[in-house]
């Protein structure tokens, strides 16, 4: 009987979640309106500062180990906040792109599909990046921390770093506050 109760409760929870998704889907308003306003601008300079290896080395040299770990954790938390913002922006872009998938113009639908694909990739990457940051939060000196992450950024310093300008021709929208 215990097994039956467990399975009935599991089925009820699953059903409640699925019905919740169905209801929220039917209540969803037109995706084109007001979505761009939900995009959160990201301060590129502040982010660059956080992922700067020179900054990391400087702090490591100047601070005692315990203090360095504390500061490093604070920097990682800030980094996590940026990645979370990028992930949320990706979600908004998925919805914007999906809103355009029903357009009759082939070029628009192709562009929309590409946008959705890239935004999904960003959402996925942001999830994995967050996992790494949370692991690094537990062991700030492990080498998993920002230092390794930052080396990648340093290597790619020539390329634009963040999800940049997202512009609606009617009302320009910026993800990054500095470009």
């Amino acid at each position: 009987m215990t097994l039956a109760i467990i399975l009935v409760v599991a089925a009820a929870v699953a059903l409640a979640f699925i019905l919740g998704v169905a209801v929220s889907r039917s209540l969803q308003i037109s995706p084109s309106s007001g979505l761009s306003a939900q995009i959160q601008p990201i301060d590129v300079e502040a982010f660059r500062n956080l992922v700067d290896p020179a900054e990391d080395d400087y702090l490591r040299r100047r601070l005692p180990p315990a203090k360095f770990r504390m500061v490093q954790r604070q920097r990682l938390r800030a980094l996590a906040a940026y990645v979370q913002a990028a992930g949320r922006n990706a979600t908004v872009l998925v919805r914007m792109g999906q809103g355009a998938l029903t357009e009759s113009d082939v070029h628009t639908t192709d562009a929309a599909r590409q946008l959705v694909d890239n935004a999904l990739l960003l959402r996925r990457n942001a999830t994995f990046a967050l996992l790494r940051i949370y692991v690094a939060l537990a062991w700030p000196n492990s080498g998993l921390a920002v230092a390794t992450i930052l080396r990648d950024y340093e290597r790619l310093s020539g390329s634009a770093m963040l999800l940049g300008r997202l512009r609606n021709p009617a009302a320009p929208v910026r993800l990054a506050s500095t470009l």
């Binding site: 097994l3 009935v8 998704v21 889907r25 969803q28 929309a112 999904l120 996925r124 990648d152 950024y153």
Partner: protein, 256 residues
């Protein structure tokens, strides 16, 4: 009213399956079977299986044992069909997006393996609910199929919700109907297989299952055949973006 072989009982067993046959005919006429071939096969074969089981139930010359053999055959046909249908739903939602399809496939396989193991454990610990092995076996097989099916569908809903992906209207309708049916059937078959309900009360579970299935068939009708109302709106303008750059950066970050 809630008795076996009452009018309502006959109606709830026959009507959804006749409706499913009508739905498959309409799908054929509208060439929807090209877009959703597995659902088309599911609608056709599932309706035929259920009607065959119904015929075996009401035919006086079919023995009890043979009825359960027919029921087993129906389960063995319907089970793989349902899993193929879940595969079709998954492919329709995520298949066009290369960025998540590989991750999705990996995760759904992992979830599938976990569910198979869970279902096997649940079946192993279930008490024999009938003196006749063929009956308790059928109940356990039902429980196993619905446990795996509802778990996989829940995963698909969760995965799509996490990525804010909105499936197309017909695919959403198919997934919704299938999920409602799977969850309710899981609960009822879990009670049937583990609860040790007396036979007189079992018929209530049959009514719940049949009524739920009827509702699900109506959901499929609605989502597949009734066109979506498109609100008049200005053309959606896509924003400029440099997602490629951001994705390259994050991928490098993750792969370290």
């Amino acid at each position: 009213m809630l008795q076996a072989h009452s009018f309502l009982w006959h109606y709830l067993w026959v009507a959804p399956n006749v409706l499913l046959l009508v739905l498959s005919f309409l799908m054929w006429k509208r060439r929807l079977y090209r877009r959703l071939p597995v659902f088309f096969a599911f609608a056709l074969l599932s309706a035929c299986c259920h009607l065959a089981i119904y015929a075996a139930d009401i035919s006086p010359w079919v023995s009890g044992e043979n009825f359960w053999r027919v029921d087993w055959a129906g389960l063995l046909i319907e089970g793989p069909l349902k899993f193929s249908l879940i595969g079709e739903v998954f492919a329709q939602i995520f298949g066009t997006y290369t960025s998540v399809v590989r991750l999705g496939r990996f995760l759904i396989r992992a979830v599938g393996i976990l569910l198979v193991l869970t279902a096997a454990v649940a079946a192993a610990y279930a008490p024999k609910d009938s003196l006749i092995g063929i009956i308790s076996g059928a109940h356990l097989l039902d429980q196993t199929i619905f446990l795996i099916e509802s778990g996989l569908l829940l995963f698909i809903f969760l995965f799509a919700a996490y990525f804010s992906l909105k499936p197309s209207r017909p695919v959403f309708g198919i997934a919704l109907g299938l999920a409602i049916s799977a969850c309710v059937h899981l609960a009822t078959w879990a009670i049937a297989a583990n609860g040790g309900l007396p036979a007189s009360k079992r018929v209530v579970l049959d009514f719940i299952n049949m009524a739920t299935y009827h509702v699900c068939v109506l959901i499929w009708f609605y989502y597949l055949l009734v066109p979506q109302k498109v609100p008049a709106q200005a053309a959606v303008l896509l924003p400029e973006n440099n997602l490629d750059v951001w994705n390259r950066e994050l991928e490098k970050l993750v792969q370290r």
